[in-house]
């Protein structure tokens, strides 16, 4: 048996995280960051590995459950995202345990973040539905404690709201998971492998019910309107680091699952549901953007921008063209980095000011130019400025959608206009103008420190690199897009010029 790289990749952060139960204090911090860097190295090895990595061990034979891992293009992109974001978050939250109101120490935060990283990596690598479900639910436990342990005064309620929404979505998915197991068993050989389920010939009624069960869970996770309300409440109360992990990594499981499980296992029902989902995606784009413009709290603002961005991703996924699908997967990666940059940069400012209210800021760029600059760069990435990688992915989504649904694509472009509004308005209100007295007392001489700048370097660098030279990354994700298109049985619409015969 060859070296089980994928298992090791997931096991290292898990063991490291559990070890932090005993190793505490300054040592614990170093161990935590060390483990996350080791995971980064392993993740990069897996990312650049050309051989196909897969593992398959029977877990519960009688019901056909496997411990099966695999890594395709989309999985690689998500693994890259995860292993890069976690060390960045740990470095950014270096003193989280010393802040007033923290329930536990910094090493506990690091431990939970590492355990979360392990589960998230398993989600992105699982090729067995039951294993996927298992780790999908398991991510909730560390995330719950991350939200509930550190952050604002009403974080306990926020944590519970997060958990109830996710659990409810997860249990709806359990209905689908059981159904998948029953269908394969009735076909003769019980199995939860995604490939086996995809090979089933489900009756369209059964398939549609199962599709809906999975889709609801992912829509809660992503989050899409109307099941998004947990996200702003949670992000408002959690620390910026926890929010980054939540929105940057965990929410990607939603869109990831739509491609991997919904499209991968239920091609016919996916096509059947497309009209409704596309409308929901458009609603998410606009609702998220409008709510972001109306937000008075920076953290809520960022989370609403994410709702809008997830709308774009879902639009690209269910437009079902190679270009829009590749765009969506690339979008998932870019959104992870740009939202992380935004959450963390705003987090620095909020920590200094002691409030996330937009009204509490004003003229920060005069006294803390570096912090304001970071906010601006991250914000520009969020609004998909050309040159940033998010521009490319957003463009691909819209161009791909145009091929099949020109009107929807046309409407969605308005979303980008709104994006420019919410970012620039927020910047104008908080950073420009004369520095108020309060801002001066809080920010003078307390600009962003070297450690905090260091966190932002890789994130912004990646956004720029992928923005100017996206080709290698696109090749990686395009493969998944093509296989998904083949599974669903869709072909790209022929270019209009040929169609019209002119």
């Amino acid at each position: 048996m060859s070296f089980p790289l994928l298992t090791v990749l997931a096991a290292v952060p898990l063991i490291g995280g559990l070890a932090l139960i005993w190793v505490r204090g300054a040592t614990g911090r170093l161990v935590g960051i060390g483990v996350s860097l080791l995971t980064l190295v392993l993740g990069l090895v897996a990312f650049f590995s050309s051989s196909s990595l897969s593992e398959d061990v029977t877990w519960i034979g009688s019901i056909g459950a496997h411990y099966a891992l695999g890594l395709d293009g989309m999985g690689k992109a998500m693994v890259l995202l995860t292993v890069v974001l976690v060390p960045a978050v740990l470095l950014a939250e270096w003193h989280v345990g010393e802040e007033p109101g923290a329930r536990w120490g910094t090493s506990a935060f690091f431990g939970l973040a590492l355990v979360l990283e392990s589960f998230a990596l398993l989600v992105f690598m699982a090729t067995d539905v039951l294993l996927f479900y298992l780790v999908f639910e398991a991510t909730l436990i560390p995330m719950y404690f991350l939200i509930g342990g550190w952050g604002g005064p009403r974080r306990a309620q926020a944590a519970v709201k997060f958990l109830i929404y996710s659990l409810a979505g997860g249990l709806v998915m359990l209905f689908g998971v059981i159904g998948v197991g029953v269908q394969t068993a009735q076909a003769g050989a019980p199995s939860f492998l995604i490939s086996d389920v995809a090979a089933l010939h489900l009756s369209s009624t059964t398939g549609r019910w199962l599709f809906v069960a999975f889709f609801i869970a992912f829509a809660v996770k992503a989050p899409m309107v109307p099941v998004h309300t947990w996200l702003p409440d949670t992000a408002e109360q959690a620390t910026p680091g926890s929010s980054t992990l939540l929105v940057g990594i965990l929410d990607k499981i939603g869109t990831f699952g739509m491609i991997r499980l919904c499209l991968g296992m239920f091609p016919e029902p996916s096509k059947w549901a497309t009209p409704v989902i596309l409308i929901l995606a458009l609603v998410s784009i606009f609702w998220g953007a409008l709510m972001a413009i109306g937000s008075r709290n920076l953290m809520r603002l960022i989370s609403y921008t994410s709702v809008s961005h997830f709308g774009f991703m879902v639009l690209g996924i269910f437009a079902l063209t190679t270009q829009s699908l590749s765009g969506s997967i690339f979008y998932m990666l870019n959104h992870g980095f740009s939202t992380a940059a935004l959450f963390l940069a705003v987090g620095y400012l909020v920590k200094r000011r002691g409030s996330a209210d937009i009204g509490a800021f004003g003229g920060v760029e005069k006294v803390a130019p570096v912090g304001a600059g970071l906010f601006l760069v991250a914000g520009l990435s969020t609004l998909a400025l050309p040159g940033m990688s998010s521009f490319i992915s957003e463009f691909m989504v819209m161009a791909g959608t145009w091929q099949r649904h020109p009107w929807l694509a046309a409407i969605s472009t308005l979303g980008t206009v709104l994006a420019a509004l919410y970012v620039l308005l927020a910047y104008q209100r908080t950073m420009t103008g004369p520095a108020t007295e309060v801002v001066q007392t809080h920010f003078t001489g307390r600009d962003v420190t070297g450690r905090e700048r260091l966190v932002m370097v890789p994130l912004i660098a990646l956004l720029l690199v992928f923005g100017f030279y996206p080709k290698p990354m696109l090749q990686v994700v395009e493969h998944t897009a093509k296989t998904t298109m083949a599974t669903v049985g869709m072909t790209d619409p022929a270019p209009a010029a040929v169609q019209g015969g002119k």
């Binding site: 659990l167 159904g179 068993a185």
Partner: protein
């Protein structure tokens, strides 16, 4: 003339398969010896002697079960009255393991500063000088250990009985000790006695219904044996009125013991009133014995009537799940909450009963059916439940156990290990992955769906969401609230209890992470012998 008279007087001794029946005999003998010892052993040594006798007899019986299981003998024993088949052996193992764990909780005295959870003198009126004197003299009712053994014996016989009459006798054998044990709580004795009386009256009623149902089934088929009833139904020459009435009454008698709605009203009061170790024992072992008996009656005896009882059980399952889960939300006492939670779990079990996916109904040989799923579910539920009630015993104020939910506030900060263990059990109850409870739910719901009850699975998932809410509320109370009652302490139990709690926690994790072998073994053991 004389010769024929002599012939009719001649009684041939029944041939008994002693090696197969050894587990039953060992436990019964242990109970009898225990009763006798009450008369001979001096008072201060009785507790040690009794616990040793009880522990040893359960251990020996467990070894004997394991031996038979390993040997692969599956046959009808004791002239058809006891059926030694896979479900019987699995149920016996479960009863003996959980009974043994309950025994340790029965004997736990360290948490109460040298006093057990049982009243020092049951005959004394509550609050009288006599009671106070008994308490000061540290007297104990060591009869509880033989009573526990008798109950375990009755449950084993109940789960393995091959005819309705044996089943009825077994029902009485395990019920009577339980009525007594429920009334023996040390604190809040009036509540405990009320619970015992309530349990007795309702239990007697359900026994009567069961017996009447058995008589009707006898009237229909001319036999008490499940195999004969099964044959008589398939021949089907009688009118079915008596048959269906018998089916209904017998099923009601069994559903009462499982605690299914609408026969659940005793559960909350008895669970709250009874001493906590007894509650843990009842919640697990009664349910296990009764559900196996229900499966045997429905699958082995009345399998041909599947189309009649499946919808009935499905409706009861829906009621049970929803009532259990919804009412549990509004509870403020942890024992009452766990009582309603056990009702909800009975509902989850019944979904698989209703599904009835067995090898007779087109299930593949190595696939998990209803029986295998239910056995696994009971194993996972049993460990978590005994563990949870064991932990409930530890949370105390000066006046005894502190069972109001508010006294659990903030325990996570003061006692991290305690809270983590309780969280594990609660997660298992809620069916969160990586615990045994999750795999159990998966199997049980899968079996229901295989039997064509997809809609029942949808309802069950909904009920699970509701149930998750109140389990998690307790987790939130422990971790994210500040203690407002400084008097509440988590007492340190004796080493045996710690071991039992550790076993429960480890088993909950192992059943969740490494379920493959267990599912396989229980699937192989899931065929009823007719």
């Amino acid at each position: 003339m004389t010769s024929s008279l002599l012939q009719s007087l001649e009684v041939t001794a029944p041939k008994l398969e002693y090696s197969l029946l050894a587990p039953l005999i060992i436990v019964l003998t242990g109970a009898c010896i225990g009763v006798l010892l009450e008369a001979f052993v001096p008072r201060h040594r009785r507790r040690d002697v009794q616990t040793i006798i009880a522990g040893l007899s359960m251990l020996a019986a467990l070894l004997s079960v394991a031996f038979t299981w390993a040997k692969g003998t599956r046959q009808v024993a004791a002239l058809g009255s006891v059926v030694i088949d896979g479900p019987t052996l699995a149920a016996w193992s479960g009863l003996l393991v959980f009974g043994g764990m309950a025994l340790v909780l029965f004997a736990e005295r360290r948490v109460g500063a040298g006093q057990s959870s049982f009243t020092p003198m049951a005959a004394a009126m509550p609050g009288t000088p006599l009671e106070r004197r008994a308490s000061l003299a540290r007297t104990e009712h060591t009869e509880i250990y033989p009573l526990l053994l008798l109950a375990v014996f009755g449950m084993m016989l109940f789960a393995g009985s091959g005819d309705l009459l044996t089943m009825f006798v077994a029902l009485e054998i395990f019920s009577l000790p339980l009525y007594l044990l429920s009334g023996l709580a040390r604190r809040r004795r009036l509540l405990s006695q009320e619970a015992a009386l309530k349990y007795f009256l309702l239990g007697a009623l359900s026994s009567a219904l069961f017996l009447y149902g058995a008589a009707l089934l006898y009237g229909y088929s001319g036999s008490f044996y499940f195999s004969d009833i099964d044959k008589a139904i398939s021949v089907g020459q009688q009118s079915t009125g008596m048959l269906v009435a018998g089916l209904g009454l017998v099923t009601i008698g069994l559903l009462f013991k499982i605690g299914a709605v609408p026969f659940h009203s005793w559960t909350p009061d008895v669970y709250t009133g009874a001493p906590t170790p007894v509650t843990g024992f009842m919640a697990v072992c009664t349910k296990l014995a009764a559900v196996v008996a229900l499966l045997r009656v429905l699958y082995a005896g009345l399998g041909a009537l599947r189309w009649d009882w499946q919808p009935l059980i499905a409706v009861i399952a829906v009621l049970t799940m929803l009532v259990g889960a919804i009412v549990a939300i509004s509870q403020s006492d942890i024992k009452r909450m766990l009582a309603y939670s056990s009702i909800a779990h009975a509902g989850f079990l019944l979904t698989a009963v209703a599904g009835a996916s067995t090898s007779g109904n087109g299930l593949g040989a190595a696939q998990v059916g209803s029986t295998g799923a239910i056995l696994f579910y009971m194993a996972a539920y049993g460990f978590a439940n005994i563990g949870a009630f064991g932990l409930v015993m530890l949370v105390r104020t000066a006046g005894g156990e502190a069972t109001t939910l508010s006294s659990w506030r903030g325990l996570g900060r003061k006692h991290p290990l305690f809270a983590a263990t309780m969280t594990l059990f609660l997660l298992s109850f809620a069916g969160i992955p990586l615990t045994g409870g999750f795999v159990g739910k998966l199997l049980v719901f899968g079996a229901a769906w295989r039997g064509g009850y997809a809609w029942l699975v949808a309802v069950a998932v909904l009920a699970s969401i509701i149930a998750a809410f109140f389990y998690l509320r307790l987790v939130v109370l422990m971790y994210f609230h500040e203690a407002d009652d400084e008097e509440v302490v988590v007492a340190r139990p004796g080493i045996q209890t710690i071991l039992v709690l550790a076993l429960a926690a480890v088993a909950t994790l192992v059943l969740g992470l490494y379920s493959g072998p267990f599912v396989k073994v229980l699937t192989e053991a899931s065929g009823f012998l007719r």
